[in-house]
C-alpha cells in the first residue's frame, strides 16, 4: 500500500518511469527496513537484459527507420491505392490495407501511427474525407502494428512470460485479421460523408506523375519481400524472431538503397542513434521493472494478489474478462509497455497456475488491451502523436475515434472469451 503510494507520488512528479520503478523499490526496502537487498539490484538489472530475444527490439526499430528513409512505406501505399483506389470510399480502405501491410513490417503502434498519419491523412483530406475521420481511422488502424507480427509488445511479453516469441507472433495473426475485418466493416457501415471538390481532385491527379501499374506492383513486391521473410521465416521456424529482423534489415537496406535508391549512407548515423535511444527507452524499463518485480516476488506480493483474485471468481472466462477490464482501465492512465512490464509478472502466474489459461492466449489479450490504451484518454500516446502530426485538437480526435475504439474493445473482448482465436493457428 505504502509502496503503491510512493509509486503514485513519483509518477505524478514526472520522474522518468524507469526511475519510478527503482524509486518504488527503494521505498519498499525502506518500509521493510532491509537494505541488504540493495546489493543484489545491479546484478538483477544487468541480467534482466541478458535475453537473446530482446535483440529483436532495436533491430525492428532500425528496420522501421530504414523503411522510411528508403521510401518503402510510400511504395506500399501506392500499391494499396492501385488495388483499391476505384472502389467507393476506396481511400479509406487503402489506408486500412496499407496499415495492414505496414503492420507486417513495423512492430509498434506509435511508430506506425506516426508514419501513416504523416503519409495518409493529407491524402485522404485531398480526396474529400473529413480530417477527423481520416486521423481517427489511421490511428485506430495503427494498432494493427503491434498485433500482426512482428510485434514489440509480443517480444517483450515472450521475454517476461518465458514463452516462445515465435509462438506469440503466430498467435497474433488471426486476432490481427479479425481487427482488420472489423475496421473494414465499420468503414462500410459508417460511409463517411465526403465533401468532394472535383476540380481539386482532378488537379491533384494531373499533378501526379504517370507511373505504370506494373512498376508500382513490382516496387511493392520488392517492399513486401520484407514481411514475407519475417512471417514465413518465423512461421516455418527457419529463423528466430531476432534473426528474421536481421535478415529484414539486410533486405530493407538492399531494397531501399539499391532498388529504390532513396537510402543514403549519410542517413545511417542518425538512424542508428534514434534506434539506440528508441530501444533503450523500452529496455531500461524492462531492467527497472525486473528490479521492482524481484523485490515484489521476494516479499510474496504476487501470491497475495492471486489470493485476492481467487476470492472474486473461479471461472477462467470471467477471470479473463476481469483482466481485460482491469488492463483497459490501467491502459487509460499508464503507457502500455510500462504497464505490461509491471503487471504481467504479477497476473500471469495466477492466470496459468490458478485458472489454467494458456500463457500465449493471456499474452495476446493483454498486449492487445494495452494497444487500445494508446487510443484512450487521458494518457494515450497514439492520440498525442495523431494530434501532433495531423494538427487537429485532441478533443476532436478523441470524439472521432470513439466508434473505432468501441469496435476494438468488442474485438478484444471476443478474443478474451474465445481462446481458439489465438491458439488455432499453431494448435498449441
Amino acid at each position: 500500500m505504502k509502496t503503491g503510494l510512493s509509486f503514485a507520488i513519483l509518477i505524478a512528479m514526472a520522474m522518468p518511469v524507469a526511475f519510478v520503478l527503482i524509486g518504488a523499490t527503494f521505498a519498499f526496502m525502506l518500509f521493510e527496513s532491509n537494505f541488504r537487498v540493495l546489493s543484489v539490484l545491479p546484478g538483477v538489472m544487468f541480467s534482466g537484459l541478458e535475453v537473446f530475444d530482446l535483440l529483436a527490439i532495436p533491430l525492428f526499430i532500425l528496420l522501421g527507420e530504414i523503411m522510411n528513409a528508403g521510401s518503402i512505406t510510400r511504395k506500399l501505399i501506392d500499391a494499396a491505392r492501385l488495388l483499391l483506389g476505384r472502389v467507393p470510399n476506396g481511400l479509406a480502405y487503402v489506408c486500412l490495407t496499407a496499415n495492414l501491410m505496414l503492420a507486417s513490417i513495423v512492430g509498434s503502434a506509435t511508430a506506425q501511427i506516426a508514419i501513416m498519419t504523416k503519409t495518409m491523412v493529407g491524402e485522404m483530406e485531398r480526396d474529400g474525407y473529413p480530417k477527423g475521420f481520416s486521423a481517427a481511422l489511421t490511428a485506430a488502424a495503427g494498432i494493427l502494428g503491434p498485433i500482426i507480427p512482428p510485434s514489440m509488445p509480443f517480444i517483450l511479453y515472450g521475454v517476461i512470460a518465458q514463452v516462445s516469441v515465435a509462438d506469440m507472433f503466430l498467435a497474433g495473426i488471426l486476432p490481427g485479421i479479425l481487427l482488420f475485418v472489423g475496421l473494414a466493416l465499420l468503414i462500410t457501415i459508417r460511409q463517411p460523408r465526403r465533401d468532394i471538390d472535383i476540380e481539386a481532385l482532378q488537379a491533384a491527379a494531373a499533378a501526379r506523375p504517370e507511373v505504370s501499374a506494373l512498376r508500382v506492383l513490382l516496387e511493392a513486391s520488392a517492399a513486401l519481400s520484407i514481411p514475407a521473410v519475417i512471417v514465413l521465416g518465423i512461421t516455418f521456424g527457419i529463423v528466430t524472431p531476432t534473426e528474421s529482423a536481421v535478415l529484414a534489415v539486410a533486405i530493407a537496406v538492399v531494397v531501399g538503397g539499391l532498388v529504390f535508391g532513396d537510402l543514403k549512407w549519410r542517413d545511417f548515423p542518425e538512424m542508428l542513434s534514434r534506434t539506440a535511444q528508441g530501444s533503450a527507452l523500452v529496455l531500461i524499463l524492462i531492467a527497472a521493472a525486473k528490479v521492482f518485480g524481484w523485490v515484489l516476488t521476494y516479499y510474496h506480493v504476487p501470491q497475495a494478489i492471486a489470493g485476492a483474485l481467487q476470492m472474486m471468481t473461479t471461472d477462467p472466462t470471467l477471470f479473463m474478462l476481469l483482466v481485460f477490464a482491469f488492463c483497459l482501465l490501467v491502459g487509460a492512465f499508464i503507457d502500455g509497455i510500462a504497464a505490461m512490464i509491471i503487471l504481467v509478472p504479477i497476473l500471469l502466474p495466477v492466470a496459468t497456475g490458478v485458472y489454467g489459461v494458456s500463457p500465449i492466449h493471456f499474452g495476446v489479450v493483454v498486449c492487445m488491451t494495452f494497444a487500445i490504451g494508446l487510443l484512450t484518454p487521458p494518457v494515450g500516446l497514439g492520440l498525442y502523436i495523431s494530434a501532433a502530426i495531423s494538427g487537429l485538437p485532441m478533443t476532436k480526435i478523441v470524439r472521432d475515434i470513439t466508434p473505432f475504439v468501441a469496435l476494438t474493445i468488442v474485438v478484444v473482448g471476443l478474443i478474451a472469451v474465445f481462446p481458439a482465436l489465438t491458439l488455432a493457428l499453431f494448435g498449441a
Binding site: R36, S39, V40, V44, S47, T240, T297, Y298
Partner: protein, 301 residues
C-alpha cells in the same frame, strides 16, 4: 515468531528438484513445529544461477539448487560430475553422491561462505537427433547440437566433432523441427516436458554424463541456527534427498517407458569406445582434478 528461509531454483514447478524443495519445506515446517518456514521460488523467479549465488553471498537468499556445471566455475572439482560415461544410470550416480569425494566437493565451498548440503539428481544426459541415428562419431560431424556450455561439456562436444549451438530450452522444439538444430544434449525430463520426441526421430541413450544439482545454503544462515535446529534441518535434508532421488529414478524409468514407441530409440552400449576422442579431450583438461581421481577410486573405477 517464525523465521523465513527462501529456497530458489531455476527448474519449473513440475521438476523433481522443485518437488524435492517443496517436500523439504513441508518437512522443515513439521520438524521445527513452524519455527522455520521455507518458501520455495521455482522457475528462476529470483534470478539465474549466477544471481542466486550472488544473493546467497549477500545474505539475501538462504538456499538454492545449482547445477554441478555452475558450481564447477566456483570450485573446479565439481567438473568431476561431468566425467563422461562414469555412471551407467541415475542410480549409480546417486550412489556416488555418498562417497567421501562427493562430500569433499561440498566442503570445498566453505571458503566462499557457502555450505553444500547435498545432491539432488536430474536425469542422465542423452542425445536426441532430428534426422539421423548415431553409431559412430562421423554421424555427429558438423552437426549443430544444443548443449549447456559449461567448460567440460564444451570440451567434450567439440572433440566429438559437433558444432555447439546456443538455443534457449523453450525454443529447442521449434529449432529441431526447422533444422536450426540437428540435435540436443538432453535429459529425459526436459525431453518429455517439451515434447521434443515429436520434433526429432532418434533418441540415442548414451548416459554420457550425470546431472546433479547441488543444494547450497548460506554459511551465515546455517551458523545463526541453534544446534537443535541444525540437527532438525540435517535430518529433513537427509530424508528429502532420499525421497527426491528415488523420485528421479522412477521418473527416468517412466519417461523411458513413455518414449518407447513414440520415437526410435538406440541403446548405444559401446558409447564409451565411440566417443573415445572426446573422452580423451576431457581427460587431458580435467583428468588431474584431485577429487575426480578420488571419486573414481571410491566408486570402484
Amino acid at each position: 515468531q517464525s523465521q523465513e528461509m527462501r529456497f530458489a531454483m531455476v527448474t519449473p514447478p513440475s521438476h523433481v528438484w522443485t518437488q524435492f524443495a517443496n517436500h523439504f519445506a513441508e518437512g522443515v515446517a513439521e520438524a521445527t513445529e513452524g519455527e522455520i518456514t521455507v518458501s520455495v521460488f521455482p522457475a528462476g523467479q529470483l534470478g539465474n544461477e549466477a544471481e542466486m549465488l550472488q544473493q546467497i553471498s549477500a545474505g539475501v537468499l538462504e538456499m538454492g539448487i545449482m547445477t554441478a556445471g555452475t558450481m564447477s566455475l566456483r570450485a573446479p572439482d565439481f567438473a568431476a560430475w561431468q566425467d563422461p560415461f562414469a555412471f551407467a544410470d541415475v542410480s549409480e550416480a546417486i550412489a556416488a553422491a555418498d562417497t567421501e569425494a562427493a562430500q569433499a566437493m561440498l566442503d570445498s565451498l566453505e571458503p566462499q561462505g557457502m555450505r553444500g548440503m547435498g545432491y539432488i539428481f536430474a536425469g542422465m544426459r542423452h542425445i536426441l537427433m532430428s534426422d539421423r541415428d548415431v553409431t559412430a562419431l562421423s554421424d555427429l560431424a558438423s552437426q549443430k547440437v544444443r548443449i549447456l556450455p559449461f567448460p567440460a561439456a564444451l570440451t567434450w562436444w567439440r572433440a566429438a566433432g559437433a558444432v555447439p549451438t546456443p538455443v534457449a530450452l523453450g525454443d529447442v522444439y521449434q529449432a529441431l523441427s526447422s533444422g536450426l538444430l540437428d540435435g540436443v544434449d538432453i535429459d529425459l525430463d526436459a525431453l518429455v516436458g517439451f515434447s521434443m520426441q515429436q520434433a526429432a526421430e532418434h533418441l540415442i541413450l548414451t548416459n554420457h554424463i550425470a546431472f546433479p544439482g547441488v543444494v547450497v545454503m548460506s554459511d551465515n544462515t546455517w551458523n545463526a541456527l541453534t544446534s537443535e535446529q541444525q540437527a532438525a534441518l540435517s535430518k529433513v535434508f537427509e530424508e528429502s534427498f532420499a525421497w527426491g532421488n528415488a523420485l528421479q529414478v522412477e521418473a527416468e524409468a517412466a519417461n523411458l517407458a513413455r518414449l518407447e514407441g513414440e520415437i526410435a530409440i538406440t541403446r548405444l552400449d559401446n558409447a564409451r569406445e565411440i566417443f573415445a576422442p572426446a573422452n580423451e579431450a576431457y581427460e587431458a583438461q580435467f583428468g588431474e582434478l584431485p577429487l575426480l581421481q578420488a571419486l573414481r577410486e571410491q566408486t570402484g573405477r
